[in-house]
Symmetry: C2
Subunit: 325 residues, 2 copies
DNA sequence: TTCAATATGTCAATCGTTTGACATAAAAGA
DNA sequence: TCTTTTATGTCAAACGATTGACATATTGAA
């Protein structure tokens, strides 16, 4: 691989000059600039970003830790994060924690070693204290870690409220909620909180089942939902805390010959792309994933540049009514 | 951030010694080793991987270029690639080309600048020649670029054959195929080729519609499929070249009151996780995504280590029969 | 006692780039 | 003509780690 020296030699100038054209600083005549460009072209020269990073002590790298990019919600989130990062010259190092505490910790260490400029945390199995000595620009999804660390979330309470209210309005007499893991101190728990409060407020019978940690044990999900519907055959409304979860519900209802929305109504959460392709198309609470992703990148950049930023970034949620309610 | 010098100072040894314990080379007494570890602990020291990369001229970075991680197939692929890369100490830089030629080129340049150890290409809008001066370990998904570059694909012809044969066996009289973009020189085109040959061989009427490049124009897909089914209302079997595409088909059939599988049978391709959650659950051709991802990482590593490797890596495909046929 | 193995230190180059300080020379403006 | 401005060069340190060559000192074993 050619270095800046090779370029300098070929262009008949010094490395200082090459560096000057590379970084647009100091005086450079057009003639020299052209010579240098030509030499770079000829050698197929690419400045070594590693050396640059080392020197300027900025890697232009953002670390992204999520449960897994293969989950549609996080996949879309990661896609947008990478999109907005790329727009401003940042690269994204994707880390799939699989909600494994050990991996999550390893990844944080790894990202620190690689001197990423910031970390976006969308996976939260670690204790709050563990973040204390991460003296990095950091942004959190759906979890409030400390006074200093900014977080991003959708308006979870409002989302839970919209979902629950819709079910009640549509005439449900007994509603169920499939929540995420409530042990983790996630802001998403407010969805469940809203569900509980609203159904109580309206005097509607309600039941909650909680999801285990291991996100992708398909048969386990099936069992759980099946069990729920068999134990409470009179459930006529379900608020699932994610669209993927709602997909399970829809399918099980199909096998149980419960017609949607006649016998049972379903509301999801997230509004991932494929939710509109379910049969029937899923009514869900839309999180503005793109805006949230953009915000995450901006929050990292602001911290890098030592600009002021908002700590609380709660995004409005929207009820997208399709055909499951 | 503390450096190796700070550690040396605190431990009362030289940087050479610290480096020796860090890299496990030369003689080191247990006592010194402990002192050094303690100093590292105390300072919360993380060796600077950027400096290391610069010196050893290996970044332990793999670049992954795909259309977008938010597409379920590529999301799952990316997830597994990251998983296997992480197992052996590699990190993954994810690049979403959005099938934009310019972005794809930019990303290749960027990855070269960042001196990634290898590139996994899953997005192919570029001309073959453009790859010529990528003198990197490289692996390709579903495209054969040159004599030297290894590629990975599923047994596309066999997949197309299995799908088409199944439709015919199940009694379809007029079958349709929704292909990807056939201009791109992808190996996936063999799915279409098999479809054409098999339906002709069995004397079955067939029709093909081709997908445009812009992957995610939802309404466009809908229009296309709707148009297809309206123009040919007697189609009773569809082979979609991806599960996502099949999801569109299923939904449109639902709206058109075509019952699946009674009136029309559908086969997808990929077997993404969510395909089993469709209603009805999708019959599809399974690509062994995990094995393919593992292979991609291994092929990069083998090239990095200058070990011999296979150029053609075609993975067997499996018919997963669910309820749409 | 002597030799080898073990343990650590010293020194400096290297990876590829940036940058500051300074020198020099040509071109341009007053 | 004299002074700026512009254009380039020279030199060397810095970023943070690795490594080879060599020196020295302490062990322990023969």
């Amino acid at each position: 691989m050619p270095t800046i020296k090779d370029v300098a030699r070929l262009a008949g100038v010094t490395v200082t000059t090459v560096s000057r054209v590379l970084n647009n600083r100091g005086y450079i005549s057009d003639a020299t600039r052209q010579k240098v460009y030509q030499a770079m072209e000829e050698l197929n020269y690419q400045p070594n970003e590693i050396a640059r990073s080392l020197h300027r002590r900025k890697s232009k790298l953002i670390g992204l830790i999520i449960p897994t990019v293969s989950h549609p919600f996080f996949g879309e989130l990661a896609g947008f994060i990478e999109y907005y990062a790329h727009l401003i010259g940042y690269k994204v190092l994707v880390c799939n924690s699989l909600l494994d505490r050990k991996k999550e910790k390893e990844y944080i260490e790894m990202l620190k070693s690689n001197r990423v400029d910031g970390i976006i945390m969308g996976s939260h199995t670690l204790e709050v204290e563990e973040y204390m000595n991460v003296n990095y620009p950091i942004v959190t999804f759906d979890r409030c870690i400390s006074e200093k660390i900014p977080y991003i979330s959708s308006d979870n309470y409002e989302g839970g409220k919209l979902a629950t209210t819709l079910l009640i309005q549509k005439g449900c007499k007994k509603v169920a909620h499939i929540s995420g893991n409530l042990q983790l101190q996630l802001l998403a728990n407010k969805r469940s909180q809203a569900f509980i409060e609203l159904s109580k407020e309206h005097g509607i019978e309600s039941v909650i089942v909680e999801t285990e940690l291991n996100v992708f044990d398909i048969t386990q999900y099936e069992m759980m939902i099946r069990h729920l519907l068999e134990k409470h055959p009179d459930i006529d409304g379900i608020f699932a805390s994610s669209d993927v979860m709602a997909a399970y519900v829809i399918q099980i209802c199909y096998f149980l010959n419960k017609r949607i929305p006649e016998h049972i109504k379903i509301v999801g959460y997230d509004d991932i792309k494929i939710a509109s392709l379910f049969v029937p198309p899923l009514t869900t609470i839309r999180q503005p994933i793109e805006e949230m992703a953009k915000c995450a990148v901006e929050l990292i950049v602001k911290q890098v540049n030592k600009e002021p930023f908002e700590r609380e970034n709660v995004f409005p949620v929207e009820l997208v009514e399709r055909l499951t309610t």
